[in-house]
């Protein structure tokens, strides 16, 4: 498609800036609108979809607590921490195990993610105050479960 267009310059929207910033840092993130009921996810980037195995239509509109990522190894304590962090408005770091999308019914074994989840609450100063939350997973733990529960940890 040709680069030259018409005269209108796209305004730098608040959300556009956030997305560009996180994409630039190669983060896997989602953005949720806290003013919508159940704090629905309004955007997730390609990195997030690749990492979790869920497609964008799967993720959109779901509550930002990301229940769809929970699995057998997700601790209830961590889930509660996440829920609490989302209620507050300061940056929080939570460690939680998430599971990739189950493709062949092999949820019991295979890959799990253990990562640091950073919560950031962002406030816009414009009249249309959208409260947006974003988090990014930093590193990944491969947990292979055999009889002896051996586990290997490595950085992504």
């Amino acid at each position: 498609m040709p680069v030259r267009r018409g005269h209108v310059a796209p305004q730098n929207t608040f959300l556009g800036v956030i997305i560009r910033k996180f994409e630039g840092q190669n983060k896997k993130f989602i953005i949720a609108n806290a003013r919508v009921q159940n704090c629905a996810i309004i955007y997730c980037n390609d990195g997030f979809c690749e990492m979790t195995g869920f497609s964008r239509p799967d993720v959109m509109q779901r509550p930002c607590t990301c229940d769809f990522l929970h699995g057998q190894f997700t601790s209830r304590h961590a889930v509660a921490q996440v829920a609490q962090a989302l209620l507050g408005s300061e940056e929080r770091k939570v460690e939680i195990t998430y599971h990739r999308k189950d493709v062949f019914g092999l949820r019991q074994t295979g890959w799990s993610y253990l990562g640091s989840v950073i919560f950031r609450s962002l406030h816009s100063r414009t009249v249309r105050t959208i409260l947006a939350l974003s988090w990014g997973l930093l590193w990944m733990v491969k947990v292979r479960h055999h009889r002896g529960l051996r586990s290997q940890i490595c950085r992504a």
Binding site: M1, G6, V8, A9, G16, N33
Partner: protein, 205 residues
């Protein structure tokens, strides 16, 4: 361009409307250099038209929802697809309108707004529109869709889609089952209040 300016002068169009017209005209020109695709294709035989359409719209046709379609079905679908674009700040769809087409975003970004609340941000590779509830009812939209940047779009008319699905009923059931997995946002009035987020492959509640 001169004709356009004459037109706006003769009909005393308000300044804002005139600006939008000129902007759209300018962008149209830079996109297709004054060549009307539909007019050009009109003269060609069906086979050739389908081949050209399959190439022009390969972006939307590579969506997973279309993988179950037979060759003939895909070609019929491709004849119902058109390209379009959106200018920053323009509304693609308004809340409460009757939905005419499903749109596929080839580039650019848009936002889905309802009562000034952002419900979704759409970008490259997203499909927005509605599923087909089965009956011939009119589909009313439940939100606005506004372009944030210049967007290239490919859209398939719902009427054309219904016609093709009628001709290929075996694909019709596949489409009805898969469409919700491909729609980034469902604009159909009432679709949000129906059975809420259902179980996603194995995720325990």
């Amino acid at each position: 361009m001169k004709d356009l300016k004459e037109f706006t002068r003769v009909h005393c169009l308000p300044q804002q409307l005139k600006q939008r017209m000129l902007e759209y005209y300018q962008t149209t020109w830079s996109v297709n250099h004054g060549i009307d695709t539909n007019e050009l294709l009109h003269d060609f035989p069906d086979e050739l038209r389908a081949d050209i359409a399959m190439h022009l719209h390969k972006d939307i046709l590579q969506l997973p929802v279309f993988t179950g379609a037979s060759r003939g079905c895909l070609r019929s679908l491709s004849l119902n697809i058109k390209t379009s674009f959106c200018v920053p700040g323009e509304y693609l769809i308004r809340q409460g309108d009757a939905l005419q087409s499903n749109y596929y975003v080839c580039s650019g970004s848009l936002e889905v707004l309802k009562d000034s609340m952002v419900l979704a941000i759409l970008g490259k590779g997203d499909l927005i529109g509605s599923d087909l509830p089965g009956t011939e009812q009119v589909i009313k939209t439940n939100a606005d869709v506004k372009a944030l940047t210049y967007c290239d779009l490919q859209y398939i008319s719902l009427r054309g889609l219904r016609e093709v699905l009628y001709l290929y009923p075996e694909y019709g059931s596949v489409y009805a089952a898969d469409i919700n997995k491909n729609l980034t946002y469902n604009l159909r009035e009432g679709s949000q209040s129906e059975d809420g987020p259902d179980e996603v492959a194995g995720a325990p509640n």
